[in-house]
Symmetry: C2
Subunit: 551 residues, 2 copies
């Protein structure tokens, strides 16, 4: 494989660590706080996690730690979608282990949690890890979406842990994967197995976040990559002066990515799913908001603009949610009848009598391509595949219709030509920014310290992230502390609570305060490509979200 | 407007100049070669360009130049689509002018050539130019696609030139705009007007290129921006191991961008329009080529990959070209009849009897969405809008069908899930790479020297581009030298010949030599984001195309 110049140079980058982790490893110890509680449902969770509930927060401090030099066998798993920095987490664990004891072993389970269940693993060596330092992707060992949930799966994990004589396993994943890690920790303890389980907070979506986990890794790099592209498109729009760009951004549940990109690039419209849901905003109102910007800008002869749309938007729009639910129900019961209708017109009239009045009105008002997507793209259970719906094109179609109306009334006299984009895969495997490279390496190194100190059921935590890296504070947070009970598939399950965009939070308020100005005027900001070298203000800044949350 | 950290830092960047242009301006002179000839049709061109045909190549050399300190009034025009570095061309002209004489004036015509026709202009000042140094976009004065072609337009340009007392006008544009510049130079000379006309080679497509113009500006930055994204997607594909990404890249006539991105990122399939045309490759053969890679990789359990597709591909596929021509003819004559058919099925059967057998077979074999695009997206003359056709989705649809066949025969047993991307607007207005920042500034400064030396009908030329910038050789090339006669709208016109990808050229050969290996194996290369700082191999390298062409 030919290596790019950047990759070759990035191999040489030494990620920064919190000062406490840079000193002699024998002086790295833990101190513990008071017992903790879950964020809610403490009784139910204490019952489910009999052996691991309520542990204290662990802080890494200077002190004697005799256990730190013991030889260890540790497994590591990459779980779920790619996020920049995953390789550095593994490098951090590896370097920590080897610093503790040269004979320690790190096993990488291949292809995600499934690799542990089927005992497919590779021993990480210097040669392997050196090829992946400071690079993007999860290709060092691959990832997967298998969950360790069923009794059979727990048993299979146990078999592997015993066979491999594992002292610990590190699960690098999002909220679901870390919930799984908590369950696995409890299970292993109950089985009197020595194997500890430690989690690491990964997800570009940024929704694994709380008072103790200031950021999930990968969010920084992904948001910066999308912001580069949005800024470039804004500059192009302001130069060509003839296109409205509708840009959908990855992130189905939470809109953190869209919000961060909005703060970075100052587009004319930046939709936030959490606001749509909280304020019960309809499709018609969303379209009116966009059109209001278009009309004002057209009056200034600015027939161009940029609209940011979170991927999951329509799932948060009340009437779309209802329509989708009705379609799912109809198709579950009568899907075959619909499939038999050959023409689209026939399908529409067949649905006519089955949808509620409101949903029927909405459905027939949708642009035909979108209505077709709703009917055509169904999963094996007949459900509409919401992620497949081109929300950006749906909005363009509805905006075009609305502008026609406004033109007739004389309220709008501009030109509207729109282009659609979707950015997601472009940012998930980018070379990690210096921030993510340092943060991930520190998370990995911290995970090693937690393991060497004998902890289980913790997530690796590195805090004070807006300060320079040497001032970061590493430690461990009990996974149960971040959990509550939620209904999933009809029954109450322990889950780590997803962090959605808070409408009272400073990042959203920074958007809300400015958006009227941005809607009418051209206030674009052009972040440019991620820089790994150069002045510190260019190559070491964290996200605006993080800075605002800490301000 | 809030400025990003990168933008603030880029303001400080001092673009590099050829050594000869860094010295005292009084020592910058010109030397001339022998009279030149056009690349073809010399008699016709000598007749059309009576006053400007056959001028000698001008080289910038050390020597006395008394004229260089005269005060000048110069206009500048940005013509056509954005390309990174346009602002630096203007900065180069401006700094040169002011270095020659502080009272010289640079006028920016607003919104492209139309700004000159309507005399809309702004005087460039330190305050203005300093806001745009080393930034992307054309927003300093805007661009436009108006051409100066008709007698009325020439007269309007003359009126403005006289009214503004212009010593010269610089046209920053692609092949068509520089052809216009040549005609304008001839016309002004014929009218005894002192206004000189100088061109500058701009286009991200890379098709304004020849022995004397080694690269058009913007190509470097745009190709690097797309390569960043393709590399990121490749790394994601190799990590997730479940998607085939079909990536369409901007560039309708020439495939230089796709070829450069292919060399940078080593995808599994990289289609080149020029090869498709030269070898008369059919859609079926293209689909077979892609499927061959998919089948081989599936046998290795690699059910993922990346395919690069030049935007203009289908215009080069013989049978698609024929179908499009037939559809255009039918719609020109019977468009209304078709529009009256409400159902798609009706439209198909109506077309059935009107298309030739071959075109009808092809049309009915197209995925329905694509067939609909062919019928729905027509320009005001009824013509199919080829640029609107989602070639990447067309290929995905046809590949899916072919794989179903192969599965039935037992020749293929993989999984195929595809995602479509189109990159264009993301790269046209990026912050120029150091190469483009330096090259554009040098082109602008060179344009000033040509103007100050009294030349007209020349294009600014900076050569030896694979050497460090101080070794670059600046000069002027007579525009007529790059021209031939081509049929346009039924009559012979003088035009600058577009540089298409040469199948005998080293860049294409480098692709051709490797593609069989890349088709089957995962040889991806991850260039990462454009770097403006850091080690020189990371931030100062020109394109692979340029390096190979010079090797």
């Amino acid at each position: 494989m030919e290596i790019s110049a950047l990759q070759r140079e990035r191999y040489k980058y030494q990620p920064k660590l919190p000062a406490i982790l840079s000193q002699s490893i024998e002086d790295v110890a833990l101190s513990f706080g008071k017992p903790t509680k879950s964020i809610a449902d403490s009784d139910a969770l204490a019952e489910l996690f009999k052996l691991s509930y309520g542990k204290p927060i662990a802080s890494i401090v200077k002190g004697k730690n005799e256990k730190i030099n013991q030889p260890l066998i540790v497994g590591v798993i990459l779980s779920g979608g790619q996020a920049p920095g995953g390789h550095n987490v593994i490098a951090g664990i590896y370097d920590g282990l080897k610093k503790g004891n040269k004979s320690s072993v790190l096993l990488g389970f291949l292809g995600g949690p499934g690799g542990m269940l089927e005992d497919r693993a590779v021993e990480i060596t210097d040669t392997i890890i050196d090829e992946y330092r400071n690079t993007g992707g999860f290709d060092i060992i691959g990832s997967g979406r298998t969950k360790i949930e069923t009794p059979e799966q727990f048993a299979a994990a146990l078999t592997t842990a015993k066979k491999r004589n594992l002292d610990a396993v590190v699960v690098i994943g999002g909220d679901d994967s870390n919930t799984n890690a908590a369950l696995l920790a409890e299970y292993f303890t109950a089985q009197n197995l020595k194997t500890r389980v430690i989690g690491c907070p990964k997800t570009i979506d940024g929704d694994l976040k709380n008072e103790y986990i200031e950021a999930s890794f990968g969010f920084d790099t992904a948001a910066k990559t999308y912001s580069e592209l949005i800024g470039n498109i804004e500059r192009d729009a302001a130069s060509a002066r003839k296109y409205w760009h509708f840009i959908k951004l990855m992130g189905r549940s939470a809109s953190h990515i869209t919000l961060e990109c909005g703060l970075q690039t100052r587009p004319n419209v930046c939709l936030i799913s959490e606001e749509v849901e909280a304020k019960n905003i309809s499709m018609v109102q969303i379209v009116e908001q966009i059109c209001s910007s278009i009309v004002k800008r057209a009056a200034n002869k600015d027939n161009f603009g940029v609209v940011l749309i979170p991927e999951g938007l329509i799932e948060f729009v009340p009437e779309m949610k209802k329509l989708i639910e009705e379609l799912n129900d109809i198709m579950a019961d009568h899907g075959d009848e619909l499939t038999e209708k050959t023409g689209f017109a026939d399908q529409i009239s067949w649905l006519n009598s089955r949808l509620s009045g409101e949903s029927n009105t909405l459905f027939t008002a949708l642009p035909p391509e979108i209505a077709r997507q709703l009917l055509a793209d169904r999963d094996p259970h007949g459900n509409v595949q919401v992620s497949r719906i081109d929300t950006e094109k749906l909005l363009i179609g509805m905006v075009e219709e609305k502008l026609k109306e406004l033109k007739k009334t004389g309220m709008y006299n501009g030109k509207f030509s729109a282009l659609a984009h979707f950015f997601g895969y472009e940012g998930r495997s980018a070379f990690p920014s210096n921030f993510d490279a340092d943060y991930c390496y520190s998370l990995g190194f911290t995970a090693f310290v937690l393991i060497a100190s004998g902890l289980t059921g913790y997530i690796s935590s590195v805090r004070n992230l807006t300060a320079p890296a040497d001032k970061w504070t590493p430690g461990g947070i009990p996974l149960t502390m971040m959990m509550n009970m939620e209904r999933r598939h009809g029954s109450a399950k322990p889950v780590i609570k997803k962090a959605l965009v808070e409408l009272e939070g400073k990042p959203f308020k920074a958007l809300a305060e400015n958006r009227e100005k941005w809607a009418e005027n051209t206030c674009y900001r052009f972040p440019g490509a991620i820089q790994y070298y150069g002045p510190s203000d260019v190559c070491d800044q964290p996200t605006k979200t993080l800075i605002l949350e800490h301000s």
